[in-house]
């Protein structure tokens, strides 16, 4: 299975400016979050990238994309009608090939030397020849923030799961009933990583659901249907995701990048200095 294209969604309410934020990457280069995401995709061998945005944001995104601007295809979501509809806007761009999809408000950090997160996902999808979502074991207290899957581990694998059920931001009550995974500690669930390889069936399903529903349709709903129609896997990624859209999310993402890169010692020293300059805080803790 070949995955020639990728889609970044960045048209969500309150999310449009997030990819434009500036960060310093692990190589100590300052760039926008969008550039960091694009590099993640590039490293996975993807040839073409579409970005779903709101029409007025095009200039800002072009600027934020820097040297990658010319390689991007901007797709417009005219009205903020939900995540599923944003993805569906890219249907004609995607065509009949599987597509890598990343959300615009996350940055990723791999813990596998020489292999970025998107690359891990694409390799699994390519060899498995089906839709695959990147997932991460997540404590139940974080369920209000993520979509989560239920399923069984594939035999003879350590990080692949056959997805049976997908629920967007489930309550722990529902998660316990529907999403437990054999072998997992109680209270741990496989939650989305913000990265998927989607097959054309997903777009078909999205179209059907949006047609039937008057409310915005989340991607998770379509993926739940996908699990009943074709083989659909989840892959536990060796890495971490950082949501820059939540409070202190950008700071946390920056720290994660810096502490994993060549500026690690410098950042650590600065943190120690900061802590030393606030004796009352240090004592209180």
């Amino acid at each position: 299975m070949r995955i020639p294209k990728a889609i970044i969604t960045a048209a969500g309410k309150g999310q449009t400016s997030l990819p434009l934020q500036r960060l310093v990457d692990i190589d100590s280069n300052e760039k926008s979050a969008l550039e960091v995401i694009i590099e993640e995709i590039e490293a996975a061998g993807i040839e073409s990238i579409g970005v779903v945005i709101r029409p007025p944001d095009e200039d800002a995104y072009r600027q934020a994309a820097g040297k990658y601007a010319d390689r991007l295809k901007f797709i417009f979501q005219e009205q903020p009608s939900g995540y599923g509809q944003a993805l569906l806007c890219s249907r004609s761009y995607v065509g009949t090939d599987p597509v890598l999809h990343l959300v615009g408000d996350h940055v990723y950090l791999s813990r596998l030397p020489g292999k970025r997160c998107a690359q891990q996902l694409v390799e699994v999808a390519t060899s498995s020849k089906c839709a695959v979502s990147a997932v991460q074991p997540t404590r139940e207290t974080m369920l209000p923030f993520f979509g989560a899957i239920g399923g069984n581990r594939l035999p003879q694998t350590s990080n692949l799961y056959e997805v049976k059920k997908v629920i967007e931001k489930p309550t722990p009550t529902l998660a316990e009933q529907e999403l437990t995974v054999a072998g997992f500690r109680s209270g741990m669930y496989l939650c989305f990583f913000g990265m998927h390889v989607l097959t054309p069936t997903v777009f078909e399903i999205l179209a059907e659901l949006i047609e039937m529903s008057e409310r915005p349709v989340p991607l998770a709903e379509a993926l739940n249907v996908l699990a009943t129609r074709e083989r659909y896997l989840a892959c536990e990624i060796v890495g971490s995701r950082h949501n820059i859209g939540i409070k202190y999310g950008l700071l946390s993402a920056q720290l994660a990048l810096s502490l994993s890169g060549q500026d690690r010692d410098r950042i650590l020293s600065e943190l120690v200095e900061l802590l030393a300059a606030q004796p009352s805080v240090a004592n209180a803790s």
């Binding site: 139940e140 369920l143 209000p144 309550t171 722990p172 009550t173 529902l174 009933q177 109680s186």
Partner: protein
């Protein structure tokens, strides 16, 4: 004495055991016939040695057996062996002592340790009643505890419940409030109101309490219930039936939890999470349990010491926001047997789960998986609140009529390989195909639901049913099978639309299987109503319908639909009249009511109201609006201002509809008119000594008297009596002494005195009814009271000796009128023989306890620790009661109840002197000049009878008082016969310097006393002639009274309010006790050791089942000759 037998048993225990597999096989066998053998059958014909060997095998079995139900069954087998079978065979003359260490373990719920101590004693001393009763109790309680632990574990492991036991910090709360409750951006503080309305459940049959969790989990095939969800209206008050339970929820603009119970008139604003776990602090325990069980405040947060605002911020996602939860039960009285509490809990849990997205739909009905989840959470909530019913109780959440059945546990279920059945049953809705709409309609037209007004605790019944099921007593097992068969027939009759047949079957169910398993399901009130209905309506009365666990409260009567209106009116009238007649004998909490009902086909239903429609129920504003009105409008929150404006608008638009608000905020002429004259008159008429009362109050306040001061000095030595201190008459047949006694009886020299002045507060839980008149058991086919039985025993002796035997019943302020009325209504005076009432001449006024005494009572005396959650609830209640006592004023008069409940009897010591003071003894001596002896006994000592042999002993010993004592069993607490500083005497438990002293005493005081009147009069310093001189008599009584110790005690007293609600308060009273006559050196006392059957006392209705099964009731029946067969 057959010592060899005891030694033989002992040796048998120490030798290798013979193999006798039948007991264990009965527990483990897959073959139903083998498995269902009863303990009674297994024990029949076994020698003591064989029984003890079987007990050894069973004890070894339960300790290593992994299967829960096998373990529990072995424990109940053991309890049964030691409660019923070993006592029949032990050598009655081997008296044992109860180990203080073992009792300490029992009270602390360390049951295994208690068993180990008792077993060690069994090995060292051989079998006796004390150790046997101890083992029976320990095995029984361990069995019940093991079952309760399993249900708790199962509830916790239900998928969807587990996370709540892990999330311990409010900042990590994984639930979010439903966005539809957040309000609009235009009106940020005008939050929508979510309303949920729920029915109650009415059961057609519960197949002999088969919905008890333990039963359903062990015997899913027999766990079957048919129930219907119904709406109710109180006849004459409500226009049409409606769901009786309502819950309201909304976001508020203050960062706290506000809980309001409209019907209980209680509200609280909760700022600390820990307060949510303080269940008994106020009347909001059920709302708090719902908050916890719904996961809004997960159980794991108990003790987190965090503010609710932290939790609310995570939950609602906004600062400064809180939640308000309001409950309302539409004035349906407590004890309706319609599971109002469980369905209210279910309704509250459902609304909270909707609000937090745990139920798929915020509005409308519930899906099946939602209902099951709510039911599971309701079980959790009941456990948290320290209560619990059966699994059918949350039936009001479901729609219509349903068949609910236990399910076998399959692989993947948490119960798999733990129990045979699942915790939760399957609900099968019986649709219009199964039961035609016309049949449903006709059911509504023929069944009349009522609340008889009786308040009774169904808890002990459920424990008895569980025990009987597990030991498979033959009668119980046959009855259970019959009940299961009747359910099938009811189902068939419903399918066929034959409601007359349904009525016949529900009656049969009540009168046959249910009554066979638990005779206490019925009572004189219920039986009278059934009898009267049959007489009045004959073939138009189709049957009786028991609801829930027992009758007397909520019940049903089925009539020909053409007679329904007539029957409704007749029932309303007849129930009130019957209640009036019986209310001194049976505990009624309220006047009976008749309901209208309709079947609810929607189940629990929620609606989201917005804007002006988002209005709380009227009662809510009655509670809350006065508080708003008292504040400056500008200081109110935006939301409260808006509510107040809407309320004011409503008042203007329809002034007639706001009468309730005016009643609440303005004084009315009927308020504040509590007339104290009733109490004053009662005090005056019953010999209240105000001087003594003030002295006691002053002493109490200064700490001169109190519970701690009841005790004898610490240096007092307490020892068991020596063999020569007692005369053991068990099994004795001294003909000479018997003839001596018989001659005296035949000569007319004996009278009987039954002490019945006390309130019997333990028997009725402080309900203030007359224990002596309580028709507690059916003997020879009729409900008999304690007094019925005592009179029948005297009658039999009188017939046997052909002599009239005067029978005196001593009475008090509470009991005199009712007993007098009861005797006159019996109408068999001539046949009965001479009966006299000796009216009490003294009364005390209860006072509020001091915090010091409450602390001593609760913390310094040994008390049974309850199951974990119940103990938490008890401790919370005790804190609240301590605050109540301090606020009310320690040692101040207790006046906050009906006048009769504010008085107290001053102890049974006064009852014999009262016969001197009220002139009855003088009268008896003049009417029966030969009268020389009295047999005095307590009203609850049913085995006490005129025994010529014992009287012979008394005469031969030339004693003034001869007391009967019995070998102590584990339940016999409260003192006994002891050598106190070397002198034998009776000593009260509350006077013992150390509580553990009691366990060294082999004999318990039955209080039954043979009295030589001449010698007694000499103790009082009175001659026959001086009995006419009231002044001398009074002075003599006062003189002896001053030599008697006075004890301070704490008793529970019930206060009734609202619709069948009852609160229990501790109050202080004082008393002087008859047994203390033994401390007077000038009173010659002797002590006879008699059989347990003769001397045991019935203090608690929970003893009745054992009393029946161990042969005690038969023993008593044989002593009686009833004039009303």
């Amino acid at each position: 004495m057959p010592l060899s037998q005891a030694n033989g048993s002992l040796m048998a225990l120490q030798q290798p055991m013979k193999t006798n597999p039948s007991w264990i096989e009965t527990i483990t066998s897959a073959d139903l016939q083998t498995r269902d053998r009863s303990v009674d059958r297994l024990a029949a014909g076994r020698s003591l040695t064989e029984l003890l060997q079987a007990a050894e095998q069973l004890d070894a079995f339960w300790r290593k057996e992994p299967n829960l139900y096998h373990r529990v069954r072995a424990l109940f087998f053991l309890a049964s062996i030691f409660r019923y079978h070993v006592p029949r065979q032990v050598d009655l003359k081997v008296d044992g002592r109860t180990s203080a260490r073992a009792v300490g373990h029992l009270l602390g719920r360390r049951f295994v340790e208690a068993i180990d101590v008792f077993r060690a004693e069994l090995l060292s001393t051989g079998p006796n009643l004390a150790v046997s009763s101890g083992l029976a109790r320990a095995y029984y309680q361990l069995g019940i505890q093991t079952l309760a632990d399993q249900v708790r574990k199962s509830v916790r492991t239900v998928r969807g419940n587990q996370w709540m036991f892990r999330v311990g910090h409010p900042g990590e709360h994984p639930l979010r409030i439903h966005p539809m409750l957040l309000g609009s951006s235009e009106e940020p503080s005008d939050f929508p109101l979510l309303v949920e309305k729920t029915s109650v459940r009415m059961d057609f049959s519960h197949s002999a309490w088969s919905d008890i969790f333990f039963l359903g989990m062990d015997y899913p095939e027999g766990a079957r219930v048919i129930n219907a969800s119904i709406d109710l209206a109180v006849r004459g008050r409500d226009p049409v039936p409606r769901p009786p339970i309502e819950a309201y929820l909304r976001i508020i603009d203050r960062p706290l939890l506000r809980l309001v119970s409209v019907d209980l008139g209680a509200e609280a604003e909760i700022d600390e999470i820990d307060e949510v776990f303080d269940f008994a602090r106020d009347y909001l325990g059920l709302l708090k349990a719902a908050l916890i069980a719904s996961g809004v405040v997960p159980p794991a947060m108990e003790g987190c010491h965090q503010k609710t605002r932290t939790l609310l911020r995570s939950l609602i996602g906004q600062r400064g926001r809180g939640l308000e939860l309001v409950s309302q039960v539409n004035d349906i009285p407590k004890g309706s047997r319609l599971a109002v509490s469980t369905n209210l809990l279910g309704c509250l849990i459902s609304i909270l789960m909707r609000a937090t997205g745990q139920i798929s739909k915020i509005e409308g009905g519930l899906e099946e998986q939602d209902r099951r989840l709510v039911a599971a959470r309701a079980i959790l909530g009941e456990w948290l609140g320290g209560s619990g019913g059966g699994w059918q109780d949350s039936g009001g959440i479901w729609p219509g009529i349903k068949l609910i059945q236990g399910c076998p546990a399959m692989e993947g279920d948490p119960e798999h390989q733990v129990s045979r059945g699942r915790l939760l049953p399957q609900h099968q809705l019986l649709d219009d195909q199964a039961i035609a709409p016309e049949t449903r309609q006709r059911l509504q037209e023929s069944l009349i639901l009522v609340h008889g007004g009786m308040a009774q605790n169904v808890g002990p019944i459920l424990e008895m049913v569980t025990e009987k099921y597990l030991v498979r007593s033959d009668i119980e097992w046959a009855a259970r099978q019959e009940a299961v068969g009747i359910l099938d027939k009811i189902l068939a009759a419903l399918r066929a639309g034959d409601l007359k047949q349904v009525g016949a079957l529900t009656t049969l169910n009540f009168q046959r299987p249910l009554h066979s398993i638990i005779p206490a399901v019925t009572n004189q009130f219920t039986d009278t109503l059934i009898e009267l209905a049959q007489q009045k309506f004959q073939s138009r009365f189709w049957g009786f319908w028991m609801l829930g666990g027992m009758s007397g409260g909520g019940m049903g009567f089925i009539f020909d639909p053409k007679s329904k209106l007539e029957a409704q009116a007749w029932l309303a009238e007849t129930m009130i009249a019957t209640k009036r007649r019986l209310q001194d004998r049976l505990p009624f909490a309220m006047d009976p009511v008749v309901y209208d009902f309709s079947i609810n086909d929607r189940g629990s239903w929620a609606t989201l109201l917005r804007g002006d429609d988002a209005r709380m129920p009227d009662g809510y504003y009655g509670l809350i609006a006065p508080k708003w009105i008292k504040q400056d409008f500008r200081n109110l929150s935006e939301q409260a201002q808006r509510e107040l404006i809407r309320l004011s608008q409503n008042c203007r638009e329809s002034p007639g509809s706001v009468q309730w608000l005016l009643d609440r905020i303005l004084p009315s002429s009927s308020l504040g008119q509590q007339e104290p004259s009733d109490l004053t008159a009662l005090l005056r008429d019953n010999g209240f000594d105000s001087e003594q009362h003030e002295q006691i109050r002053s002493d109490l306040k200064l700490g001169r008297i109190g519970l701690a001061q009841n005790r004898l000095p610490a240096q007092t030595t307490i020892d068991d009596v020596l063999p020569d201190d007692v005369i053991d008459v068990r099994g004795e047949s001294d003909q000479a002494l018997r003839q001596l006694g018989a001659a005296v009886i035949a000569d007319g020299a004996l009278a009987v005195v039954t002490l019945a002045a006390g309130a019997g507060s333990r028997w009725t839980g402080g309900a203030g009814v007359v224990k002596g008149l309580h028709p507690f058991w059916k003997l020879l086919g009729k409900h008999r009271s304690f007094i019925d039985i005592h009179l029948a025993k005297t009658k039999k002796t009188s017939t046997e000796f052909r002599v009239p035997i005067p029978h005196v019943i001593t009475t008090g302020y509470l009991t005199h009128g009712p007993i007098e009325k009861f005797l006159s209504e019996r109408g068999d005076g001539d046949e009965l023989g001479p009966v006299y009432l000796s009216r009490g001449m003294s009364v005390g006024l209860r006072t509020i306890p001091t915090a010091r005494d409450l602390r001593f009572y609760w913390e310094e005396t040994h008390q049974q620790v309850l199951d974990e959650q119940q103990q938490k609830v008890r401790e919370s209640a005790r804190n609240a009661l301590m605050q109540w006592a301090i606020q009310q004023g320690e040692a101040s008069d207790y006046l906050h109840n009906t006048p009769l409940q504010c008085l107290h009897p001053v102890g049974h010591w006064y009852e014999v002197p009262n016969m001197l003071r009220n002139g009855l003894l003088r009268r008896l001596l003049s009417e029966y000049p030969k009268l020389r002896y009295l047999l005095l006994h307590n009203v609850d000592t049913l085995g006490a009878s005129i025994d010529p042999l014992l009287l012979g002993h008394h005469i031969r010993e030339k004693a003034c008082l001869t007391f009967e004592v019995i070998p102590r069993r584990i339940d016999d607490r409260g003192g006994g016969l002891a050598r106190v500083d070397g002198h034998p005497r009776l000593v009260e438990g509350l006077a013992l310097p150390r509580e553990e002293d009691e366990f060294r005493l082999r004999y318990y005081n039955s209080l039954t006393t043979w009295i030589d009147l001449e010698l007694l009069l000499s103790v009082f310093g009175l001659s026959h002639n001086e009995l006419d001189d009231q002044t001398k008599v009074d002075s003599a009584v006062r003189r002896v009274a001053q030599r008697m110790p006075t004890y301070l005690t704490i008793k529970d007293v019930k206060k009734r309010w609202g619709h069948g609600q009852e609160d229990i308060f501790p109050v202080t009273q004082f008393e002087k006790l008859w047994g203390d006559m033994t401390i007077l050196p000038d009173v010659r006392c002797r002590y006879l050791v008699v059989d347990v059957f003769r001397g045991q006392q019935l203090k608690d209705p929970a003893q009745l089942d054992g009393w029946f099964r161990d042969g005690s009731s038969k023993y008593v029946e044989n002593l009686c000759e009833f004039t009303r067969p």
